[in-house]
Symmetry: C2
């Protein structure tokens, strides 16, 4: 494993970027939030998972499919950025429960919040929020989630997960689209609409669609899965709506070497996208377009800010609502609180919906008042979210702001970028690593390995060297560290990647 | 409000049932679980909600649709079966957050559990359960949810809500159905299947269906909503799968007076159901049938045990998986832990899937190993449930067993039944109440009012008299009390119903 001096050496080797090396550690020390975090990984078994982890998985497998297990953690012993597994291995975790841990394991301030009377009573008296919201509900939202509401979106529907958040946005889009066709919120439903919807037939169940993009991932329930275009194993054998799929640019890296090619590729995709929007009007009109700022599960695919801005403007031109799925990219890890802040959307160009979940722990949809349904009970369910996750999000957001963790993560991302750019242009990476990407997107960096097999081999060897790291797409490696991930963790990570690359 | 002596008088008036009057209070006293529960309702404002409740809703309405609010509770002051609202009104709650509170508000044993280190750390270290389950996971399931696994179903997929539980059962059904068509779990997917599913086209996205029943409710996400057939307002403007809907018997009450008519009605429905299963084979074959033991949201519709058993056997005959949706009926309130236990299914006739949520707080699907997908990641998502709800369910199940609350609820249901039968045949109910139903289903009793307007008026006046009670269907009133609801609460409830009926 590389020592601090080695990563310094890597950094002084210089990188393609002209910007000065960041000094992340000045802005924030994870010591404040996580006082007794391990200083380095420690692997005590020959394989990870070791015998205890294997036994724990086998016990679970009698009840639930365990083939997807990576390790079986001891969460009580885990701390900050370090995950402890059943065998006592201490792993630097840069995958963070599929990008769902914002601050770290067992953060004392969060444990204290969870022990409070407010949290305990909220946990054991779970309301049907749409009909019996607690007296503190407005205050909890205003002092928590609403403090990070995307510009222009002051309405919030809370849900329990990202898939439900996206499907809520779909439903709101369909209702608002039909309302626009009817001409006014006051126009009553016809008897034919009321009767036909009970049979799942048009006009009550309309032939409308959601447009999504190749390699996009939006969830695995029936509506969200119809918009998901990540991998066949996610979709096969499941009935799906006949909704359209537009191409997403396949950019070439490094970006600075392929400026003209990438511009042409984005132009091609935009043209095909607009063509689908136009042609679908006579078959299954597109009520909403959904896009991730970084196509994550599908392989960490990026596009330019101007590409995303064009998507938004073209959707508007064709009367389709625009949903930004920030389930994975939200909450600061890309160096801005919402990844779509970087797109440079002007006033009046804001998305219609921004969905979130994962690192927020709470889930939901920010939207505009114009997409609130015209009648009650149209967008309703029993729980409509979970108050304790709202309280947890509020506390985390407070800690994120107090510790300036979004700009800390932007700085850490810049540090990682320059370190990896040096490493990946070194001889040890030749023929193994390509398409390093995510520059300017905080710590959400990724690269491709030479083959799917090499990628899987790499992930396993990283784990054996004390780093829990994730893959995506066919052969990509993606970083999804927590917001408290800083320079000292970066040293461990970069050093371990270098070691493993040379061993592959 | 009626005094204890009055309900005794009601009881001694006798009922149509020959069974001896139950003695619910001997089996269980809610004093043990809820030591300082109010003894009666108390309404201190002229209207419910009062001014503070109205103001709280208005504040929320700036952020979220508040048109569906009933009251805004102060959960910290609520206790047991009594809900305290923002204005200090103390309401006997027989709706229980849409049937989702099992034991009561602020049950000391549950609050204590929520303060434990185990719970607090599980709450703040939320895992991606499918890949990183905690070392205690098998033990938490075995000592909790699995102790109430329906007979024959030893597999469990955990989810976050009832809609997701049903959609998980749908997905498992579709995958298992296609696997059966392929002939073996070892048969690989074809390239055509892999490619076409990415476009949402057949054969990869197959033209298969889920059959549900008129007035059934199974959730409001896109797959579950396609199976939901409750009310147009739940479905209108939302694209739906072209799945079939079978009739559900419209029984006449009292059952003892319409034996032949009801048998004929059930026979008619079974024939039409089987016809749909047969005919769909050439269009959109039915991979799964889904049914609630009591069609709740759709109006508390019941059918005979033999009807349900026939549904199951006919599904089997036609190769469709059989899903029992116990999201609302599970967890003891019908007098058996699972409502479908009453159907008399023999070994080998068990449902393929039983889904749950609501009162269990945890959600999920019990199933058989044969419907575990043949490859990993086919039924997978980030969270796959929430460990703290698993811990809460475990503690509640322990308390339910220790206090024998399922048979307590069966007894309370019998007490309520005889009291209401007397009341509803009295002059005060004439022309106002009909179709009293749910006898033998614990406390899940219901009746119709003379019109939707009278029903809504009744619910409002009940609230003003201190009882929070719910409606369903077009003009039904449904009881959904907690499992700690007993004789003393029944006295308040029956007395208030009598008072309000005479005032209508």
């Amino acid at each position: 494993m590389l020592a601090r001096s080695t990563i310094r050496a890597l950094r002084t080797r210089g990188s393609a970027s002209p910007r000065p090396l960041p000094q992340a550690s000045r802005a924030f020390s994870s010591l404040d939030l996580i006082p007794d975090e391990p200083v380095r990984p420690s692997v005590v078994t020959d394989k990870v998972p070791g015998p205890k982890g294997v036994a724990a998985s086998a016990e679970i497998d009698a009840i639930q499919d365990a083939r997807t297990h990576v390790v079986v953690p001891n969460y009580e012993l885990s701390k900050g950025n370090y995950l402890v597994d059943a065998d006592g291995n201490v792993l630097l975790d840069v995958f963070a429960q599929i990008s769902s841990i914002a601050l770290g394991y067992n953060v004392p301030a969060l444990l204290e919040m969870a022990r409070s009377d407010e949290f305990v009573k909220a946990a054991m008296n779970r309301p049907a929020l749409g009909s019996f919201p607690p007296i503190q509900w407005a205050s909890w939202l205003k002092t928590g989630l609403l403090t990070v509401a995307p510009k222009g979106l002051d309405q919030l529907v809370t849900t329990l997960c990202g898939s439900s958040a996206n499907e809520t946005a779909f439903k709101c889009s369909f209702m608002a689209y039909r309302q626009r066709e009817r001409g006014s919120p006051e126009v009553a439903f016809t008897k034919e609409e009321m009767d036909s919807c009970m049979l799942n037939h048009s006009p009550g169940s309309p032939q409308l669609s959601v447009l999504s993009f190749k390699s996009g991932f939006h969830g695995r329930l029936f509506g969200s899965l119809s918009a998901t275009r990540s991998k066949a194993i996610h979709k096969i054998d499941i009935p799906a709506f006949d909704w359209p799929c537009a191409p997403f640019p396949e950019l070439r890296y490094p970006l600075s070497e392929y400026v003209a090619e990438n511009e042409a590729e984005e132009k091609r995709c935009l043209e095909e996208y607009e063509q689908i929007l136009t042609e679908s009007k006579t078959t299954r009109p597109v009520a909403a377009v959904i896009i991730e700022p970084i196509l994550s599960e599908g392989g960490d695919k990026h596009a330019s800010n101007s590409f995303f801005r064009s998507l938004r403007l073209i959707a508007k031109k064709h009367g389709a609502f625009f949903i930004v799925d920030e389930v994975q990219t939200g909450v600061g890890a890309t160096g801005t609180f919402w990844a779509h802040e970087k797109w440079g959307l002007q006033e009046g160009e804001e998305p219609d919906f921004v969905t979130f979940s994962k690192k927020m722990q709470a889930a939901g949809v920010f939207h505009k008042k114009e997409t609130r349904p015209n009648a009650p009970y149209r967008n309703y369910n029993t729980w409509m979210g979970d108050p304790i996750r709202i309280l947890q999000a509020r506390e985390m957001l407070k800690l994120i702001k107090e510790n300036d963790l979004v700009s800390h993560t932007a700085q850490t991302g810049a540090l990682l970028t320059s370190s990896f750019e040096s490493l990946f242009t070194s001889s040890g990476a030749a023929g193994k690593v390509s398409n390093f990407r995510g520059q300017g997107e905080g710590t959400y960096l990724a690269w491709d390995m030479a083959s799917p097999q090499m990628r899987d081999h790499f992930l396993g060897k990283m784990r054996l060297n004390g780093v829990q790291i994730g893959g995506c797409g066919e052969q990509a490696v993606r970083l999804r560290p927590m917001l408290t991930f800083g320079e000292k963790h970066a040293e461990v990570l970069v050093g371990t990647v270098e070691k493993v690359l040379t061993e592959l």
